[in-house]
Point group: D2
Chain length 140, copies 4
């Protein structure tokens, strides 16, 4: 199993299960977002405060591979890592594992960008210098 | 604009908008699923009846490119086309356009598969011969 | 059947159904809100614009009696009427009927209030004089 | 503050907030349901297993008084108590308190019933003797 910068535990809630009796595919996007926002909070970035200050942080691309289902009563965790392929893009690498057996449930890559109030892409440095430094690759 | 096998109109509902004031990224997966199920119904496949009969139709991969936002008061439509890259997989190509200007909002490719009650992948023919014939490439 | 000031038609979406195979109880609150907001729009009140202008319109009490279930494939409509028991409160009387048989599915009374930016209750006149006049009881 | 039979802690997730920036009124029904199901699990009743065995446990009435809002970053807990006004009805008394100040956010009374596969109301004893004994008033 890869190591992750951040992990968050969840329990499936029955209302998240659909008529197939498993967590609906859309709900994973909710889980992934909550994990990202908690990660951001853990490094000093308050999503709602950033929005209130006029910068939008938006998802520009989502890719999810669903490998197994989660169902009523399941607990699971999401591991998160982050990449910065370009100055204006962040990619959150997020994997979902069932507990307690750490079975891989889903793998996701969520690309995000920050937009100024006028809708122009801005680098993550304009959101938080601290966060930008945190995700910067280490010099060798 | 490409032609599509099926299209469905929607109106944004305010509860689908998040604290950024736009439709949340996860809600697009709901829209896309509803469009697929209505498409299936239009060609004689009742999703809930298929599930009740013991076959699960599951999403195995979702890719969504979010190009612009939808917000309160917006109407939009989703165009759907379908590909069958292998005997056991269907790919739903689904594009979201705002109304009335047909601005492209999002593009998605949703891969699905049918699973028997025991969880084994089965070809779409085992769900519906009629549907399998409908999506078969035409002989030339 | 009572007459209503406003009615709106819906179709059940499969993702709204839970593991019992019926529309989840919370989803009715979504339906009812969407109906209220479309009603407000029909009388010239744009919910998102009111919020953006600094007035919050909030639900202070919800009562729902669930009489029958809605399930996959069902269509239904919501009838809405409005009462103003006090200067600061509105009560939306909302009933849900299945189509095409008009079977009564649920009955709701949703109480709402308008709050100024500082959180103080304000009369509906401060949101829209036109709307306040629309809901005023007729003089005899 | 009243004592409760059961309590469960939550954190607001940003996708649960609507364009007013607060948790949407419908989401409270999700929270309340999750709390009830975790309570049931704690006393030996697995909701999904009961449904799979052919008994539906349904909400027949929901009453919620919304006193204050929850917003991004808030943590809160729900206290649950249970009443049995008649042999065929349960009332879950559920109150929502913000953390860490225990400010009262919402108060709810959710009435539920159990239905046999044919839709006939059945007493809770037919779901679980153990649960029925647990909620029985003590003889004096």
């Amino acid at each position: 199993m890869p190591s992750y910068r951040f992990r968050l535990e969840f329990a499936v809630r029955d209302y998240e299960c659909d008529l197939e009796g498993v967590v609906n595919n859309a709900v994973y996007l909710n889980y992934l977002e909550h994990c990202r926002h908690e990660f951001l909070r853990s490094v000093g970035v308050d999503f709602a405060a950033v929005v209130a200050a006029g910068t939008h942080m938006v998802v520009t691309r989502a890719e999810v591979d669903y490998r197994r289902s989660l169902t009523s009563g399941d607990r699971f965790w999401i591991g998160l890592d982050i990449e910065r392929p370009t100055r204006l893009k962040l990619v959150f690498v997020q994997d979902v594992y069932r507990l307690p057996d750490d079975e891989l449930i889903a793998q996701a890559r969520i690309t995000g960008a920050a937009l100024s109030a006028s809708g122009r892409p801005v680098p993550i440095e304009s959101v938080s210098e601290q966060f930008a430094a945190y995700i910067a690759p280490q010099a060798h």
